[in-house]
Subunit: 290 residues, 2 copies
């Protein structure tokens, strides 16, 4: 079931417009090409979809701000994939069924592509600021908080360089942060306070982490879009190694139930619950669906 | 001669406050340490000094915004140094007289340090937005434009991966961009239009490039703070290779004269001219001073 049929089109249009501005004029051709390569074709666009669903549930009274927020969040997510795939991190050759950016364009351009996409995310928000400067500034602040340090994906990735990991900080920052950004930025774009939306984002992030662990452990390489079994190889924490397959699936269902229960009262509450259930269906590995 | 004695203290205070927020709470310890290492002790802080001088010349009616803008600009500059020193670019072991971040902390943390510093730059601007949301949004937009693609330092660096270089786009983006950001962000922070300030930034950037070329060619490793002769080794364009030493020095003086002539009419015009002369003194290599 499609929750809001216009959302995917809005996300792609906002992303393509953003990439086009970064490719304009005197951009060096290879970098311009790599920026598009890193963002298209996309994965499931889960984070901007959640953002748009929350904005819609909150009334979406400044759609241009919601579009900008969705594009900004996905650009930062794509940047993180480009950098995470590089040899000094996961050294992953493939991403979304094609060569990783550093394999297709070399490490120098991969590093610059990630940097440029991060910057482009903030630029997109600044361009939309005239619709409501204070909301735009809060979107910049929230995206930055969930991207950098101490609470963002950079800090999450940073834990992998530590001898001893703070597991809770690690998971919340590495996977949770951009889901919290998704729900909170959706609320901000529509003029609502972000705080009540934190738990929904955190729980979706937790569910996503467990689902990712299940796919990694069960070897569902097609739907994962990257090599499997990497967590065991790299000694990374994984819910399946911790709870077993059945335990991890039970945990996934509990978390998603909690996510639905955490949705703040709003006109779009029922629609959001359907969206979480749709994401749950998508998140559950094919091998584990009943 | 000191142009505005309070400026260096304001810049350092704003930078240290920014780094402290990124190190707070649950930040992974090595990343937290690397963030400080990459920013302190600094170089000459030329870009934020120019920014503050322009803001002062324009009245500096929101000093908290000027402080945030100066910190944001220097954080992005430090991020670019961290990434540029990495093996896939300059492979430089030393920076500012100590091991480069990737030598001291490893490549993974160097990549994350650069990413985190970029993000922190935008976060600092968002935190100061309540002083004037529209100015803050314009600061975000200008910093992004001069950092990313097509007109920023990422695009400038990207030209080094092309088989044939657009030299004008390369120099303007690689070195000029953050000097243009400096003058324009100084104006924006103080509520002025940025356009009249573009030429001053562009000319200071050009002068800085020629001075850097002179130091690289003349082997002034101490004041350059990095290995010399790299342009000839790496086949990079260099004004000394193009015009000779005397020609490059003449060119430096012409550019600085043009920079002073380009200063827009404002109450701080004379002070800014003094600042450009002071920077000129600093830029001219010891070997070439008369």
């Amino acid at each position: 079931m499609t929750v809001a049929p216009q959302i995917p089109g809005r996300i792609e249009a906002a992303l393509q417009e953003a990439i086009a501005t970064a490719q304009a004029g005197s951009a060096p051709p290879k970098l311009a090409s790599a920026l598009h390569y890193a963002v298209t074709p996309g994965g499931a666009r889960i984070r901007p979809t959640i953002l748009m669903a929350v904005a819609t549930a909150c009334g979406d009274d400044r759609p241009a701000l919601s579009d900008a927020a969705a594009a900004a969040l996905e650009l930062v997510h794509c940047a993180s994939l480009v950098h995470d795939d590089m040899p000094c991190f996961d050294d992953a050759d493939m991403r979304r069924g094609k060569p990783a950016v550093h394999k297709a364009y070399g490490e120098a351009l991969a590093l610059l592509t990630g940097d440029s996409l991060i910057v482009l995310g903030f630029e997109v928000l600044a361009r939309a600021a005239h619709h409501d400067p204070m909301r735009a500034a809060r979107l910049v602040g929230t995206l930055a908080q969930r991207t950098g340090s101490p609470g963002g994906i950079c800090a999450g990735q940073g834990w992998e360089s530590e001898d001893s990991i703070d597991l809770s900080a690690y998971h919340q920052a590495k996977t949770g942060a951009l889901f919290i950004a998704a729900t909170q930025m959706g609320a901000i774009a529509a003029g609502q306070e972000p705080e009540p939306w934190q738990e929904l984002g955190a729980r979706i992030g937790e569910a996503f982490q467990v689902a990712d662990d299940l796919r990694d452990a069960l070897g569902d390489a097609d739907s994962l879009g990257k090599p499997v079994g990497q967590d065991a190889v790299n000694g990374r924490p994984n819910a399946v190694l911790e709870y077993g397959v059945d335990g991890a699936i039970r945990r996934l269902k509990d978390i998603l139930g909690g996510a639905i229960a955490s949705i703040p009262s709003c006109e779009g509450e029922a629609m959001l619950a359907r969206m979480v259930r749709a994401q749950a269906e998508r998140l559950t590995p094919v091998h584990a669906r009943v």
